[in-house]
């Protein structure tokens, strides 16, 4: 019962904190509106027009199919790159040899522009969904990898010695000593990955003409349907906000609750 109440309290606070976020977004919308009034609807449709266009888009079955397609691709790319990158990073963090071998490889992979991967993937996979997924994976895998690696490499060895002195096995040490520390390295990496997964998917779809929101965007551009372009952009941003603040942040908030304890206002229970 107390646990449920504590959870509800946390949920209420989390939702309430959305007001601050909304205030920031409305500032941005105001700047947008100013731009619109300066340059007119053809160059920059107003937020209101865009919102109406989004509402109309949601009613279109084609749009829903395209959005689902993009969501699936970026979701798959996100999951693959996070799973592979994080586990490889953790493994590399435990081994100095692996760390030394992998670091330059990561730098090289990060140095290749995503657009180059799209071209390569187009040649390998053709104009299909695989292109988008591969681009997302390759573009964002190194971020999770570096996060996992740094997190493990900077784990608290004094706490590890403590755990060892109580006979904690390898897995228990990973779970109780390393993992909570890793979280603060992995979540920024995962947030970046989630954000770039949407962007890169749309970009890959646009360039490979593989349907999805990117394909939609390409045809809207061809038709000079500017409100549709901004509406699609807004939709993608909405998806990115959703992944960040509905899927990732709450999880992080729950896992990092202990950090509140060290802050001047103390832990909130």
């Amino acid at each position: 019962m107390a646990a449920i109440l504590a959870f509800l309290g946390w949920l209420g606070r989390y939702l309430w904190s959305a007001w601050a976020g909304a205030a920031g977004l409305f500032c941005l919308a105001a700047a947008w509106q100013a731009g619109h009034e300066l340059y007119g609807s053809f160059v920059l449709p107003s937020p209101l027009e865009t919102g109406q266009e989004v509402a109309r888009l949601i009613g279109e079955p084609d749009f829903r199919v395209a959005a689902l397609e993009t969501a699936q691709r970026s979701g798959l790319g996100f999951l693959l790159s996070v799973a592979v990158g994080t586990s490889a990073g953790i493994a590399a963090g435990y081994s100095f040899a692996a760390m030394r071998l992998m670091r330059p490889i990561v730098t090289v992979i990060l140095g290749v522009p995503p657009i180059a991967w799209i071209v390569l993937a187009l040649i390998w996979f053709g104009a299909k969904g695989g292109t988008a997924v591969l681009t997302v994976v390759v573009a964002s895998l190194p971020i999770s990898f570096a996060g996992g690696l740094e997190g493990v490499a900077t784990r608290d060895r004094a706490l590890e010695a403590m755990a060892k002195s109580f006979g904690a096995g390898r897995f228990m040490r990973l779970r109780t000593v390393t993992a909570p520390h890793l979280v603060s390295y992995l979540f920024p990496a995962w947030t970046t990955t989630a954000g770039s997964a949407w962007k890169v998917t749309v970009m890959a779809e646009l360039l490979s003409n593989a349907g999805g929101l990117g394909g939609d965007l390409a045809s809207a551009r061809a038709l000079f349907d500017i409100p549709r372009v901004t509406a699609l952009v807004l939709a993608v941003v909405g998806f990115a906000l959703f992944t960040e603040y509905v899927l990732i942040q709450p999880l992080r908030d729950r896992l990092e609750q202990w950090r509140e304890a060290g802050r001047p206002w103390g832990v909130k229970r």
Partner: protein, 246 residues
């Protein structure tokens, strides 16, 4: 006999810490290991506790469970005090209910308020954290406890309280303890026997049983004992101002 180090040699990056260290810890005995900073007493403790593998020599352990109280509390910042105290029990695979009950009992023994059990280490004072660390060690019912200068960072009054805690716990639970410290009066208060390690080659200079039982010695006796030691040649190295210039 609970623990014996036999002809242990260890070196860090080729620099020898000690060549030939032999010591023995009997059941129920509190053994104070004293020495100047950097003489290798912490290394000796880590070898005894199995945290470091010695280069040479043999460690004989005749007990089932040990626990270590480190210089810093080393509590997990992301676990509440209750789970921190129960950590050793969790490592042994004891169920949640049972280990929380044991943790609560041990916390009471070391003077933690039940309210403190729900707090994170960041919310506890330094003394409270060290109390929790002691409770965590006692919670596993150890036969040997290793103390690595555990009370150096707390104030004088609290240090006494924590020492008394160790004295009563060892009298009650009959565990053997290896207590590393650089404070002679701390050794004189709580140990049955004192070993003095040399800073030059890590050899044992003094091995002496301290008269009386820990906890029963009064402050005057302890003061006079430490004063007496200060004038002995074997202890001289601890007070040598030039020892770093070797």
């Amino acid at each position: 006999m609970r623990l014996a180090l036999e002809r242990i040699g260890h070196a860090f990056l080729g620099r020898a810490v000690f060549e030939n260290l032999t010591l023995r810890l009997d059941a129920g005995e509190v053994l104070a290991l004293v020495g100047p900073s950097g003489c290798g007493k912490t290394t000796a403790l880590q070898i005894a506790a199995g945290l470091v593998d010695p280069l040479r020599g043999r460690v004989r352990r005749e007990y089932r469970r040990h626990a270590v109280v480190f210089q810093e509390p080393r509590l997990l910042p992301w676990q509440r005090t209750r789970d921190n105290i129960a950590y050793g029990l969790a490592a042994r695979g004891i169920g949640r209910e049972e280990r929380h009950a044991i943790a609560a009992a041990r916390a009471a023994e070391v003077g933690l308020h039940p309210r403190d059990l729900d707090k994170y280490p960041a919310e506890l004072s330094g003394g409270m954290r060290q109390r929790a660390a002691v409770a965590r060690a006692l919670a596993v019912d150890p036969e040997v406890v290793f103390f690595d200068e555990p009370f150096t960072a707390v104030d004088v009054g609290l240090r006494r309280v924590l020492q008394d805690l160790v004295i009563t716990a060892s009298a009650r639970e009959k565990f053997a303890a290896l207590f590393v410290t650089h404070d002679l009066s701390e050794a004189a208060r709580l140990a049955h026997r004192i070993l003095v390690m040399s800073g030059r080659d890590g050899s044992i200079r003094v091995d002496r049983t301290i008269a009386g039982t820990p906890g029963a010695r009064d402050d005057r006796a302890i003061f006079e004992m430490v004063q007496g030691w200060m004038h002995e040649a074997a202890f001289a190295e601890l007070f040598d101002p030039d020892r770093d210039r070797a």
